[in-house]
């Protein structure tokens, strides 16, 4: 599977007797959105942590662009092109919106060891940052304190920071969480276009969004992938129905 941008092989992690991730193998190919769905407690967050570098798996491997990154810290995975958005916004709340995206641009440039020149005056970083804000539609609130943003705007800012990294793959942890119908629809349209830039591993509860966006879906139940397939295949799968979706009324 050399064409996979991101892949896990037999990823396993247990906490005591609880198998949070049980031999999970999945891959993310260029140009696709691969959604991971599953009921609460299915191990989605644990899986993301292992992919992005927060947790070390007990067994198995994570490959990014064909390189084994299993033991790399999150920071180095980010440098190699993995961009993550958080389920609960992890933003510098006291800073402005612009400063938050500037941080992303700065990280991507890997030039934080400059002590005297104003960061906001660095044209290349600022262009990257402002362009990302424009793409998610936050250009108007660039100078606003992040704590004053609405929940939906914070979700957009999460995505904007990921954009500044110009990544090879996105890992998004419930980007639609807490968005209204209108917000979800807009973000869905945005992600639809984003896959051309880099593939997205999308963990999401919003089934409308998942079915609208996903090229492939993996269903995670009790830490185990019970099915991977296209939207139609997943809809048709009896195993998935039994475990998760429930019979349509």
């Amino acid at each position: 599977m050399t064409d996979a941008v991101l892949a896990t092989h037999g990823l396993t992690k247990s906490f005591g007797a609880l198998m949070a991730t049980d031999s999970v193998s999945l891959d993310l190919r260029a140009g696709e959105i691969h959604a991971v769905i599953g009921p609460n407690g299915a191990g989605k967050s644990t899986l993301i942590s292992q992919i992005c570098g927060g947790l070390v798996p007990d067994a198995g491997r994570v490959d990014l662009l064909g390189h084994d990154v299993t033991m790399l810290p999150a920071r180095l995975r980010a440098q190699q092109g993995l961009a993550r958005t958080f389920q609960i916004s992890a933003l510098a709340m006291e800073d402005s919106v612009l400063q938050n995206v500037m941080l992303g641009a700065l990280g991507a440039s890997r030039r934080p060891w400059s002590f005297l020149r104003p960061v906001l005056g660095q044209r290349d970083l600022r262009d990257t940052a402002e362009h990302a804000l424009e793409r998610v539609g936050l250009a108007d609130v660039a100078a606003t304190r992040t704590a004053e943003l609405s929940h939906g705007q914070r979700r957009q800012l999460e995505v904007a920071v990921a954009l500044t990294l110009n990544p090879k793959a996105f890992v998004m942890d419930e980007p639609m969480a807490g968005l209204g119908a209108e917000g979800s629809k807009r973000l869905t349209e945005f992600l639809d276009g984003l896959r051309a830039q880099a593939p997205i591993l999308l963990v999401e509860h919003d089934m409308d969004a998942v079915f609208a966006l996903a090229d492939r879906i993996s269903v995670l139940v009790y830490g185990r992938v019970i099915e991977t397939g296209t939207v139609a295949e997943i809809r048709a799968s009896q195993a998935v129905r039994d475990a998760y979706l429930g019979d349509p009324a």
């Binding site: 810290p73 980010a78 400063q99 991507a108 934080p112 960061v119 500044t164």
Partner: protein, 327 residues
């Protein structure tokens, strides 16, 4: 509310005006008090980079203050007794030259901050406070037991050290020197706050996980901040020893560390002039209330309580409101 820049300018002008007025009316003690405030402010400007920007509540910054003090004390002591510091592997002589002493003070503090930071930054929160406190106590007791340099009694330096072109024994000239260094440190801090490093450090304090996901190392950022912070506080220590022409283990005491934190909290955490306002306020209270009662710390405690309860931004926050983001 007063714009913060205006407030800062007023504070700086006032800090310069008081000793000049004292010079005119011939009150040299007031100039010494102002110098004391300026040196304390410099020490706190240093700590503010770690505590205010980096969120590192160091209860051990007296280590750097004391190292700066002892760097001055030891170098000047050897110079005034005409004994070498070391003869092997090569001859090291004492010195009375301030620039050399400052350099040694800053270098020593920087190395100490690097080592202490490397160990302490593995911890956060209360543990970080405790481990920095522990380092402070280690240095304190080491100084007490170091008989070669006065032990508990400390070291007296008979004549203030030299600075090219100045007579440092004239109070206003020494004040001017300290004031100039404070201005340089403030300018550096102002630039730092707006720099790429400042942005990254600020984020590392608030959301380390985010900083990591953009490919930066929050710990390394904090470590560098801690070193810069220690270097500035170390310089202040060398000046403080020169002001008193005396250095003793109390410069290493945890009370000293606490006082530097108090300057920052009084003035306003993470505000450029917070440490300056805090130090000036502290020295003023110390002088006037200390004249009324030996127990003046009671009033300081009450003031601190009021500020922590009702004015989290310190005096600067009270007068200038929240910090502005950027233009």
């Amino acid at each position: 509310m007063m714009p913060e820049r205006v407030l800062n300018a007023v504070v700086l002008a006032g800090l310069l005006a008081v000793p000049l007025w004292a010079l005119v009316v011939d009150e040299p003690f007031t100039i010494t008090l102002a110098t004391r405030a300026v040196i304390f402010a410099l020490a706190a400007v240093g700590l503010n980079i770690a505590l205010g920007f980096g969120g590192l509540v160091s209860l051990g910054h007296a280590v750097f203050f004391g190292l700066g003090g002892y760097a001055m004390g030891i170098l000047a002591h050897h110079a005034q007794t005409f004994t070498p510091l070391a003869e092997w592997p090569f001859l090291i002589e004492g010195t009375k030259s301030m620039p050399v002493i400052w350099l040694v003070a800053m270098l020593t503090s920087g190395v100490a901050a690097l080592l202490i930071g490397l160990l302490s930054l593995r911890t956060t929160g209360v543990y970080f406070i405790m481990i920095t406190l522990a380092f402070g106590q280690m240095f304190y007791y080491f100084a007490i037991s170091w008989a070669a340099y006065g032990g508990e009694d400390g070291l007296s330096i008979y004549v203030r050290n030299d600075f090219p072109g100045l007579n440092t024994l004239v109070p206003i000239q020494f004040f001017g020197l300290c004031f100039a260094l404070l201005c340089v440190a403030l300018l550096f801090t102002a630039l730092l706050a707006r720099s790429p490093f400042g942005l990254a450090l600020n984020a590392a304090r608030q959301v380390p996980a985010r900083v990591e996901t953009v490919g930066l190392d929050p710990l390394r950022l904090k470590l560098v901040a801690f070193v810069i912070s220690g270097v500035i506080t170390g310089l202040a220590g060398a000046l403080f020893a020169d002001l008193n022409r005396f250095v003793s283990p109390t410069m290493f005491s945890w009370q000293m560390s606490g006082e530097i934190i108090i300057f920052i909290i009084l003035g306003g955490t993470a505000r450029l002039f917070g440490p300056v306002v805090g130090a000036v306020l502290f020295v003023t209270l110390e002088h006037f209330l200390g004249g009324l009662s030996d127990y003046w710390h009671i009033y300081l405690g009450a003031l601190l309580l009021l500020i922590v309860l009702f004015a989290r931004g310190g005096v600067i926050g009270l007068l200038a409101g929240r910090a502005r983001l950027h233009d």
